[in-house]
Subunit: 254 residues, 2 copies
DNA sequence: TGCGTTCGTGCAATATCATGCAGAGAAGGA
DNA sequence: TCCTTCTCTGCATGATATTGCACGAACGCA
């Protein structure tokens, strides 16, 4: 693994999890803590993160803000959500992931008169669709993973394998030409992989900051997905690496 | 756990609960009280909290007096919810039903330091407990019954039979001396019956308007439940028919 | 006042940190 | 090919930070 890749991974981790612990990183990457600490020192010198005893925090994050989650890009996400809602046909069974983009999609759906079945492992999505008369909701049970508020674990996977959705809208942390789709948590990755395997079509909701990013746990390679849904405002140089690999791109928004 | 994370957790706890007790914190984080006290001293030196004997309070009274985010509940529902929360012991596995009283109970729980596992078939309850670090949440999957927003059906029942909660707080539509516990929907009744069968103890959350009422579908007879949790403000003539049948009554509130 | 709890400080043990140094391997020129 | 140079990595070392325990003082409650 290249040094720059390692540093990028550290920054990714900081973005998705909000903290990095030197010891954990050294175990995960099978490198000495010295090497990780060196990286952290250098990244701190560049102002890209904030060094603390035992690890590092994002550069900007103040102590009092630590527990808060990171902010979103509303315009981008809303356009993607609306376009995704438009891809659903009456009578279809749709799987919705967790995450802010998926919740935005559920809210978009709630504003339509679509007749469909939505399967989800996110209670937030279920609550967002509660008031919609035309949409039947199926909830996947299991242990609730607090960080992203979706169910995971053996129970979730078992339930998922008994359903065959027509289309799956997947949210991820990173979408990379070489490393494929990645997310920050192993359990989540397993659940997403199971859903994708069951679904006739998998569409990845790709807001701008995800393109080119890599996170710790691999979900599926790029050739396992059917299309990437990106905002039209997204710069071409972020998208080109994927088109040249033959990934189908769907543009959202005006 | 990083030191800064611990301090952030203390500040977060102060904001959400309004106080921190050194001893409780040390038990929860499995650290000595000295370490917690040191954190409290340092945070107090930075002006981020106010030190008091035994623990700490938010820095300014103004912060503590901020209007609570919680919705105002009718008095006796809130009293029942609070009393129910008090019946839960650390380490127990608790099943929470759907319904307004159960959601009020979840919100009461969210204001405590309790360590417990909450199993529920209500996404609303899951969302209400999302921010609580000490509570592990297990969600029961299945078809979402829109009217009351809980999962029902074969999948739900199957999942329920694999769990054995210590205590089940049941919400119903009607509680009648002769007809027992009733609810408005056949599927819901089946789910409640299954949960009650699995649970070591079943407690019925009995707000005043339910006493003496009857609904279409029978859940279980009165002799299958362990106690009826009623508000202290509830008139005795509503309760007497149940005491004379030998039902154990727990009074909530001052 | 008496008693148990909590507090603060000093101290020792452990964990983490920064720096210097040496070996392994890659890059590049002779 | 051989050699030099450079980078990366892990280890050793001394410095610093964190943690838990001990002990006497302060505090709160009855």
């Amino acid at each position: 693994m290249l040094t720059v890749e390692r540093k990028a991974l550290i920054l990714q981790r900081l973005e998705s999890v909000g903290r990095v612990v030197a010891k954990e990183m050294s175990l995960e990457l099978e490198l000495s803590e010295d090497t990780i600490r060196r990286d952290l020192r250098e990244l701190a010198a560049e102002g890209l993160l904030q060094r603390v005893h035992g690890g590092a925090l994002p550069a900007s994050k103040a102590l009092a803000d630590l527990p808060t989650r990171r902010k979103v890009q509303p315009a981008d996400k809303a356009a993607i959500a609306k376009a995704a809602a438009g891809m659903i046909k009456n009578g279809q069974t749709v799987f919705l992931d967790g995450g802010t983009t998926a919740i935005a999609l559920a809210r978009s759906l709630a504003a339509t008169d679509l007749q469909a079945t939505v399967v989800t492992h996110s209670p937030d999505v279920a609550v967002a669709l509660h008031a919609h008369g035309g949409v039947e909701v199926e909830l996947i049970g299991g242990r609730l993973y607090k960080h992203s508020n979706v169910t995971v674990g053996a129970v979730a996977i078992e339930e998922i394998t008994s359903i065959r959705p027509d289309i799956y809208f997947m949210g991820v942390t990173g979408i990379h030409p070489e490393y494929g789709l990645t997310t920050g948590n192993r359990e989540e990755a397993a659940v997403k992989r199971a859903i994708s395997r069951q679904s006739a079509e998998t569409v990845v909701l790709a807001s701008r900051e995800k393109l080119g990013a890599v996170s710790a746990h691999s979900v599926v390679p790029l050739d396992q997905i059917d299309s990437l849904l990106v905002a039209r405002s997204c710069p071409p140089d972020l998208i080109d690496p994927f088109t040249s690999l033959g990934v189908s791109i769907v543009h959202a928004g005006a």
